[in-house]
Symmetry: C2
Subunit: 498 residues, 2 copies
């Protein structure tokens, strides 16, 4: 890396008379710096009337922008008392940073605040006309990382995810080959919701989803010792800044805008116009809304981690095993919607576990046992498990090359007969199980009395369980497997319309 920072200091008075002193001071300062990092140098020193300009260069750990603040303060201390001059203004004329990439960029890279030039593996960031405030804000290192990340992502784009089979069931003869959403819609068990990608589940479909919920709780979560909590449906940006969701998928979030006031007088014109025109006066609405600072739940784990923020957990409470079964997940899906499988609004039970590495690895085995029990003995599914790229890496725009056996995500996939041949068609990801290492416990500063903590989660999507089951087993309760019929033998009678 090579840093080259050119700066002008404007002093409160003419400093020509103390030129020698200043040069001596800078020369001494230079020596002190070199002792710490011999690549750092102050050069091109020019003194003219009120003005001192110079460059700071470095090639190692000590960065010119960090040196600068220190230098400014030292000059103030040294010359303020003795010569009654102070630094009025700092102007950054130029800041150029060269660094090397692991691979050549495949296309142009842009970032805010700077020009980026890349030639072969050498990248150059140039900043102009910035303030010293800007330099103090610690953006430089993150700008360098962002350039590297963008080049890395160019290599991952369009590349398939990592996928490695772990286990697969035997082939099962499906009861039918229909799309469950379509069939349930025809029967009126389901109805498209009042906005895009949402559904209204009438009592027949509700009974099935609620049975999935019951099975998940009774057969998986309770036996493993999980306890229910209730979290908020609304997630503020500061939580998502910690988990990376805000930068990871801002285009998939449903944002929440609060009224800027509850004052009836401020809303009077909105109310008048609505009552008179029977249309929504969007102009008036805009005037009375705040800019969003939160969004609807995307995944349940961020707020669960937030609830432990800054806490130190007693050893006896480890592993922490909690789940949320209340909040509703909402994702802006735009083009990719299909049936109840890929929707903007869905219902998920999310267990979160926090404990030592050993506790979580052991828990994962127990989870696998319970899930196998449900999918084999109760649903009698044709399904398989595979190691995949951890979702949080995908979300952060990073596609991993492989996963370890310790941290990582296992996807559970079910054969969807309505999609065609079991070998050629895409199977449905209907469950996952992750151990995420210390990523989130660190982000929220969660500690244990003694142990090092890891965490993980395992989203149980009710729409996904329902679809996996119905796609293979059909919607006639008489044909459902015995194990499932212990939970649901008969659907509630629906409402007849004429």
């Amino acid at each position: 890396m090579k840093f080259d920072l050119n700066v002008s200091f404007a002093f409160s008075n003419d400093v020509s008379s103390i030129k020698k002193d200043l040069e001596k001071f800078l020369s001494d300062f230079n020596k002190t710096l070199s002792a710490k990092d011999n690549t750092v140098k102050i050069k091109e020193i020019k003194i003219n009337k009120n003005n001192l300009s110079f460059s700071i260069i470095s090639e190692d750990t000590l960065r010119p922008h960090n040196v600068l603040l220190n230098l400014k303060n030292s000059i103030g201390r040294e010359f303020g008392k003795k010569h009654h001059v102070g630094v009025r203004e700092i102007k950054i004329n130029r800041y150029t940073i060269d660094f090397y990439l692991e691979r050549k960029a495949l296309k142009k890279v842009k970032i805010p605040f700077a020009d980026v030039k890349i030639k072969n593996k050498k990248a150059t960031i140039s900043l102009r006309n910035i303030t010293d405030d800007f330099l103090q804000r610690n953006y430089i290192d993150r700008m360098i990382s962002r350039v590297k990340e963008k080049v890395d992502n160019q290599y991952y784009e369009g590349k398939g995810e990592f996928w490695k089979l772990v286990w697969e069931s035997v082939d099962k003869k499906p009861v039918w080959d229909k799309d469950p959403t379509e069939e349930m819609s025809k029967l009126g068990w389901l109805k498209q919701g009042p906005t895009k990608g949402k559904w209204f589940y009438r009592s027949e479909a509700t009974a099935i989803l609620k049975t999935m919920e019951k099975i998940a709780i009774e057969e998986v979560l309770k036996p493993l010792g999980f306890k229910e909590i209730i979290e908020s449906n609304i997630v503020p940006f500061d939580v998502w800044l910690k988990t990376g969701h805000l930068e990871g998928m801002p285009g998939e979030i449903y944002y929440v805008a609060e009224p800027s006031t509850r004052d009836v007088e401020k809303w009077e014109k909105f109310i008048d116009l609505t009552k008179i025109t029977r249309e929504v006066p969007f102009g008036e609405l805009k005037k009375n809304l705040s800019i969003p600072n939160a969004g609807l739940c995307y995944a349940q784990c961020p707020v669960i981690y937030w609830s432990f923020k800054g806490k130190t957990i007693s050893e006896k409470s480890l592993p922490v095993l909690v789940y949320d079964n209340t909040v509703i997940s909402t994702r802006y899906e735009s083009g990719g919607r299909h049936g109840i499988v890929r929707v903007d609004e869905f219902h998920r039970i999310e267990p979160v576990y926090i404990g030592t590495r050993e506790q979580l690895l052991k828990l994962r085995e127990k989870f696998l046992d319970r899930y196998k029990h449900v999918f084999n003995d109760i649903f009698e599914l044709e399904w398989r498990m595979a190691w995949v790229t951890p979702w949080y890496m995908q979300q952060a725009g990073k596609i991993g090359e492989e996963t370890t056996q310790d941290t990582g995500t296992i996807d559970f996939e079910a054969y969807m007969p309505y999609r065609g041949d079991r070998k050629k068609s895409e199977w449905l990801e209907f469950q996952n199980l992750s151990i995420l290492g210390d990523k989130y416990v660190k982000a929220f500063n969660i500690k244990a009395q003694k142990s090092e903590l890891w965490s993980g989660c395992s989203g149980i999507g009710l729409e996904r369980w329902t679809t996996a089951f119905l796609a293979q087993k059909g919607i006639d309760p008489d044909k459902w497997p015995k194990g499932f019929r212990k939970y649901l033998t008969k659907l509630p009678e629906g409402i007849s319309f004429v």
Copy 2:
């Protein structure tokens, strides 16, 4: 009422030559009108070159703005073919409407589109420089209604709600006099949520809320034959335009803003800035958001009614008895927040019933029996019931004077020992039960094969049940009533922090 509309028609050619014909035509038209409504008159007819101007006045059912369109078309038919002239432009010079109020206005009234003057009980609306398009939009009658409504509301402002005691339990000796939210917060059972007016319920508090849910379903809803449905958490404005929520409480809604795009390139600058600055770039966010066209669930019934929109229900399916126990209610409370009792986010089971008047009156009796069973035998509460102003009237800004015994709302109120003396302190409204007549079935055009339909709902707020119960019975399970202990005898062990 007195309407006075002054209009100018600009013709495509000079009409001086056919002045006589025009006058004759208008005179005939006048006669036809008078036959329908003898208060209608066309007068002050002036013809000058291309221009015809006149006034239409009326004092009865036939309104000048309705006459106008008819007249324009008739002139077109009559003179277009014969004289090759047509009406190029219509200018409304003045439209004045006088009408009488039931009571004097107490202060000035303003509405959009018009000046309003009120002298004693006589109101005058004056519109100027409007287009004939505007007149066709049917705003006039709604503008008149809005003025009347605003004057009526001046009388209701600050006036107490209607409240009439129906039934009260005997006094009960409370176990304690603490505020349950405060005590549970101290014990860590509860924690304030990540945004205003929301809570995070740890496993101890969750167990209590979930017990309330179970009791409501097992002891009230199932015995009455209700079936569960699952609705969407996101309510589009067009649904609230029908129910009146959008005009009733726009300042209490949490609005939902979708991304205007999911395109990663469009979000790139947002992502870059977030990663580099670790702050939210609100300017970039604004660029990528749509204006809200929906909000979070305020009450559950609107979307349930929507699900029956335009349907005709078979007689055999009546009464329809459904409930939603999935979506989360969100209300912007601003100043009035307190504990888990008055919050921005709460959990409610909402049964909705649609049937004949007789069916619903019978159902209400059965509901009362079940609620009495829960509040007397299971919770052993000190509570009372009162007829109150139907909530939908309050929401529409109308405070009723009284309610009938057929339609209307019964509030259930519990004594809160922590608020002080049972005679002087405010009791908590912890349940309600409404029959709303045909208001909503009409709004959504819901019909039965033969019968006239009514509807109603009865929100079961879990936070309210929890608070009513804990405020009287304390948080020590050993001291809870036997009936409640059948459902919950022991709280889950919480997590210890050091």
